[in-house]
């Protein structure tokens, strides 16, 4: 009986972790190619969550379907952000980029506060309380759908980078900035595209997160931190690492919540981050630089 509880909690952790992993994947793609740390990542996530909430509340549209248009909106936002705001900062020091993105984060978070107010919003779908019974496991339907969708989006992105010419061009920019320019690639455009794709991941993940948790405007920084932890544990710049890191952190947080107290699970997560930074800075799945 008691092992069933652990198993159930672990499965739930895996599924939530996949969604967080998708969000972190956006951060990882952006850093892996552009070498800019997106400190507005969590705020972009909350923007996507609010989009999902509004679409559901006004038009009754299911966030799992709206994932695609929301990802599209975030793509455009990310593209524009990189093209006009971040691109001049590419060769500036890290703290300069940091302040720029913190400013963007402040504007986004408080823009949401102006529009939606401080109250928590959520999405209540008809299948919110459904679940699947698989042997001894009871799997929450919402989380199962979200987890599967996260895998699908990540797979699509992976295929894009591996199989298309555009994806190969972006990887070329990541490998060798000067070389990419020499062979005539339009690096600023590819960078903007990359940022857009990273933002699209955030859009898809945000739409799914709206199903799982309530959203308030100041939620951003905690999402940003979570995304950092996941990509560093998984390996900054490694795509499979981000998903695997998401699963790992999801399971650890879920089990820590069960074994200790739920509010203290963050301590375990940050303890793991410190250990990884010290003993395996390239991440569990990352390659040595």
């Amino acid at each position: 009986m008691s092992t069933d509880i652990y198993l159930n909690v672990a499965v739930s952790g895996v599924l939530t972790g996949l969604v967080y992993g998708l969000m972190a994947l956006g951060l990882s793609v952006i850093f892996g190619v552009i070498r800019v740390v997106n400190f507005a990542h969590g705020e972009m996530t909350t923007v996507a969550m609010y989009l999902a909430v509004v679409l559901f509340a006004t038009l009754g549209l299911d966030p799992l379907l709206m994932m695609v248009p929301i990802a599209g909106v975030l793509f455009v936002f990310g593209y524009a952000l990189q093209r006009w705001l971040i691109n001049p900062f590419i060769n500036r020091p890290e703290h300069s980029q940091f302040i720029l993105l913190v400013a963007v984060a402040i504007i986004l978070a408080n823009g949401l506060l102006i529009v939606f107010g401080p109250d928590a919003r959520s999405v209540q779908t008809s299948y919110a309380f459904d679940s699947f019974m698989i042997g001894p496991l009871i799997v929450d339907a919402t989380k199962a759908f979200a987890g599967l969708a996260a895998i699908a989006v990540a797979a699509a992105l992976f295929a894009f980078f591996r199989l298309t010419q555009l994806g190969t061009a972006i990887r070329a920019c990541a490998d060798n900035y000067t070389g990419a320019q020499v062979i005539g690639l339009n690096v600023p455009r590819l960078y903007a595209l990359t940022f857009g794709l990273g933002a699209a991941c955030v859009g898809a993940a945000g739409a799914m997160l709206a199903l799982v948790t309530d959203v308030t405007p100041p939620l951003g920084p905690s999402f940003t931190l979570l995304a950092f932890v996941i990509v560093i544990v998984g390996g900054l710049g490694s795509m499979p690492g981000a998903l695997a890191g998401g699963i790992l952190i999801g399971v650890i947080a879920a089990l820590a919540g069960l074994l200790y107290t739920p509010s203290a699970k963050g301590m375990f997560v940050f303890a793991i981050l410190v250990l990884v930074l010290l003993f395996r800075p390239q991440g569990i799945f990352g390659r040595r630089a």
Binding site: H95, S96, L100, V104, L112, I232, P281
Partner: protein, 334 residues
């Protein structure tokens, strides 16, 4: 001593500095309580900015977790005062000891394991967040319900226990800021300061010429941590309440680095100018919006964010280096 301090300062700059200090010394006679609290806030940010600047501006180590030193300093002295009646002046030594140990630990781990750049920044965030959640669950100091200092009557000021009126905190914060500037000036024009600058510019080259970079980076972290802990002491006794969500929050770490970056990283006067400009801007926005009858939460911060965006785009080195040239304050030696 005085002669050494005046070194590299042009007569024009020295005059301006003395006039500014005099104006700030007599300000309480002309300023109302509101203006006084704004000035206290400005000095708080000028002081913490100065402390953070040692690590980032001088040594080039980006810390985004300075809230941990604020929080540890605040909690150490507050607990000693509330439970044992120990004066914050004596408690400060304990606070410095605690934060020096904490900073040394973080610095030792980071520098020994070659964690640098963005990774170092995230490591500092991780420690601050760890402390935040830890204090949330530390029932000895009230956990997430907060820790409150006994509030005395405000008709009299007691400097020894730091219970009293805003004017006492005004002079205290002014004194701390001046002391921090003097200390930073002495350090940066010493052997230690030159080692720091060498590490900031090129760590490999610094090591190549024989500087023990590990030791001098560690010294920077420890000094910065100790200075920041005193800001935490001030925070605790000025606000009289401590919540882990407040003192250890990532927002606390971010707000204290804005002033030096805005004003000019690695400069002595940058953090002060930045604190004046940013706090002044925030307060002006508050009063303007109130006067216009606009009561939209978040509107002020959006405008604040836009200003930040503009300054970092137009003046990436901060306002002070630009203003310094425009005002012709540079000495002949430059």
């Amino acid at each position: 001593m005085i002669a050494r301090l005046a070194e590299n300062v042009s007569p024009r700059a020295a005059t301006a500095l003395v006039l500014l200090l005099l104006a700030l010394l007599v300000a309480p006679w002309f300023a109302n309580d509101y203006l006084l609290t704004v000035l206290i806030l400005i000095f708080y940010f000028a002081y913490t900015g100065q402390a953070w600047n040692i690590m980032m501006g001088f040594t080039g180590q980006l810390s985004l977790g300075h809230a941990i030193y604020i929080g540890l300093g605040a909690y150490t002295t507050a607990v000693l005062f509330s439970f044992s009646g120990i004066s914050p002046w004596l408690g400060s030594f304990a606070a410095i000891l605690v934060t020096v140990l904490c900073g040394a630990m973080i610095g030792f781990l980071a520098f020994r394991f070659r964690v640098s750049g963005v990774y170092f920044a995230i490591l500092t965030i991780a420690f601050a967040e760890f402390a935040r959640i830890g204090f949330d669950h530390l029932s000895y100091v009230g956990g997430s319900a907060g820790f409150f200092l006994p509030v005395a009557n405000y008709t009299q000021s007691d400097l020894w226990t730091l219970r009293g009126k805003p004017i006492m905190f005004y002079y205290l914060s002014l004194g701390m800021t001046v002391a921090a500037v003097v200390m930073c000036h002495i350090m940066i024009s010493s052997r230690l300061g030159y080692f720091w600058l060498a590490i900031r510019e090129d760590e490999e080259a610094a090591r190549a010429v024989g500087i023990n970079t590990f030791r001098y980076k560690l010294i920077a972290v420890v000094i910065s941590a100790a200075m920041t802990s005193l800001a935490g002491v001030f925070f605790a006794f000025y606000y009289n309440n401590l919540f882990p969500e407040e003192v250890f929050s990532i927002n606390r770490s971010i707000e204290l680095i804005l002033a030096p970056i805005f004003g000019g990283l690695g400069t002595l006067f940058g953090p002060i100018l930045g604190a004046f400009m940013l706090t002044g801007l925030a307060e002006t926005l508050t009063t303007t919006l109130a006067a216009l009858g606009v009561d939209v939460p978040g509107a002020k911060q959006v405008f604040y964010g836009i200003c930040l965006l503009l300054v970092i785009t137009v003046l990436p080195d901060g306002v002070w280096p630009w203003l310094y040239r425009r005002l012709g304050l540079a000495g002949r030696c430059e």
